[in-house]
């Protein structure tokens, strides 16, 4: 169930990334698949983060026609590994600490992606500093909000909260029924 949830979130992020750019171009500065990768990399499971990173990157590459197939996969896998490694050594659970993590991830992703294209003789169209700067700002702001939402959706505490809410509802209903029978 959790794997399916992850796959749905990832697919949604990749599809929205390409569709929303057609609706309003500034939305392209928010890297939704990267935010998802960062979230799962912060869960201290590097293996899961790597798989999610490569899947998000390759899916993004496959839906575009401009860049090289595999470049996004490479950069996002690397980002996932770096963050997952850091999260096992440092405490990155604080929402405030996540802001520099997101900014660093956006910068590393952009740098690796552009370097790979330059290395293979396919220079990107957009100017690096300006585009990477906008991406850093957009991804960090939206990412901070989205990480909070993803936290509510996937975390163990959220799972427990949902579980107890269900039990509370069942308990209330039972008490109500019992009360009616007594009358």
């Amino acid at each position: 169930m959790r794997q399916l949830k992850i796959a749905v979130v990832l697919a949604l992020a990749v599809i929205l990334q390409s569709s929303l750019k057609a609706v309003w171009p500034p939305l392209s500065y928010v890297d939704l698949p990267l935010i998802v990768v960062v979230y799962f990399a912060l869960q201290r499971d590097a293996l899961q983060a790597l798989v999610i990173g490569v899947a998000a990157g390759l899916a993004t590459d496959a839906l575009g026609a401009g860049g090289l197939l595999g470049a996004g996969g490479f950069s996002k896998t690397l980002v996932a590994f770096v963050i997952a490694s850091l999260s096992t050594r440092l405490t990155l659970d604080n929402p405030l600490v996540r802001i520099p993590v997101l900014a660093g991830a956006a910068l590393l992703d952009a740098t690796v992606y552009v370097l790979l294209h330059r290395m293979l003789g396919q220079p990107p169209l957009a100017p690096f500093v300006q585009t990477a700067g906008f991406k850093l700002i957009g991804t960090t702001i939206v990412g901070t909000i989205l990480l909070f939402l993803l936290e509510r959706m996937f975390s163990e505490r959220a799972r427990q909260r949902r579980h107890f809410a269900f039990r509370r509802r069942v308990a209330k209903r039972s008490a109500f029924r019992l009360g009616r029978r007594r009358h």
Binding site: M1, R2, Q3, V14, I15, L16, Q17, S18, S19, L20, K21, A22, V23, W24, P25, S28, Y29, P33, R44, D45, A46, L47, L50, V54, G57, L58, A59, T60, A62, L63, G64, A65, G66, G67, L68, L69, G70, G72, G73, F74, T77, L78, F81, A84, S85, T88, A110, Y113, V114, L116, H117, L120, G121, Q122, P124, L125, A126, P127, Q130, K135
Partner: protein, 299 residues
């Protein structure tokens, strides 16, 4: 069903998995970079990924468009009352202009019928909607909601009433991908001014980030000014002759020995494309050189 892994296991396996994945991605990239040079080849992975994602992209862009439109309407309401006053005044002037325009339009219709523009029916077109753009920030290709099933083939030109947009670089069963004319890898044969009247022939290439295109190889002796129109020549084997490319915005004048460098703003609004037409244009076959001529390389 979740597999519980210890941190030690993860720490041992992660570097190996990382190296494997990075090497796989690099191999894929190297292969794709080699394939990218060939415009006649289809990229199978991309074609099918696009085909699968197309219905969801269509849905997402539809919902997103409605959302953006809603907020835009709210913003527009603030300006509505001030605009209303101004518009009332303009309306009176417009009514006079309208009667003059009607007269001109009637005249135009009559002249068009007289000219009998046959080339307008020379090639069929497929109307298509832009459903997505390249998800990466660094490139700008678009995805159309029509593909091979609608008769779209590789390298077909894509246009709007404003001018040329680009060419088809990938076709799936029901979607196709278009490389915009502003892409650095895109090019078209063009001429400044009217075909048959001007000698300012050159090649138009994308400039990428600026949204402009650059025209090169125009003789420095030709007279070119900002504001001149540029049209296709049809010599590139992709775009038919006579399509609008755009308007000259800047000229770095050349001399007798150096060509002009001309910057052109594309006529099509590439940053806000919604509907486009894909021309089912087949360029005329190139004539092979006469093998009897002395300067032809013999096979």
């Amino acid at each position: 069903m979740a597999i519980a892994r210890t941190q030690r296991e993860i720490r041992q396996r992660a570097p190996l998995l990382l190296i494997g994945l990075l090497m796989g991605c690099f191999a894929l990239m190297a292969f794709d970079a080699r394939e990218n040079g060939d415009a006649t080849k289809q990229h199978v992975v991309r074609t099918w990924a696009q085909a699968v994602a197309a219905p969801f992209q269509r849905l997402a862009s539809g919902v997103g468009g409605a959302g953006v439109g809603f907020f835009k309407h709210i913003g527009d309401l603030r300006h509505a009352s001030a605009e209303n006053e101004g518009l009332k005044q303009r309306l009176a002037g417009m009514e006079v202009e309208l009667s003059q325009t009607r007269h001109a339009a009637d005249e135009n219709e009559r002249l068009k019928a007289l000219l009998d523009l046959k080339e307008k029916n020379e090639y069929q077109s497929v109307m298509a909607k832009v459903i997505a753009r390249d998800p990466s920030l660094w490139f700008d290709t678009i995805t159309l909601n029509r593909g091979r099933m609608s008769g779209i083939e590789l390298n077909m030109p894509v246009v709007t009433p404003g001018g040329i947009v680009g060419r088809v670089v990938g076709t799936g069963p029901w979607v196709s991908q278009v490389m915009l004319i502003t892409d650095e890898r895109a090019a078209a044969g063009a001429i400044v001014g009217q075909l048959g009247e001007s000698n300012a022939l050159g090649s138009v290439r994308g400039l990428g980030e600026s949204g402009l295109v650059e025209m090169r190889y125009v003789s420095g002796l030709e007279k070119v000014e900002a504001g001149d129109y540029v049209v296709t020549t049809g010599q590139d084997g992709i775009y038919p002759a006579g399509l609008n490319v755009g308007q000259v915005v800047e000229v770095k004048h050349g001399s007798a020995t150096t060509p002009h460098v001309i910057h052109i703003r594309p006529g099509a609004r590439l940053d806000a494309l919604e509907e486009v037409a894909v021309l089912k244009y087949k360029p005329p076959p190139r004539t092979s050189p006469d093998q009897t001529l002395p300067n032809v390389e013999k096979k």
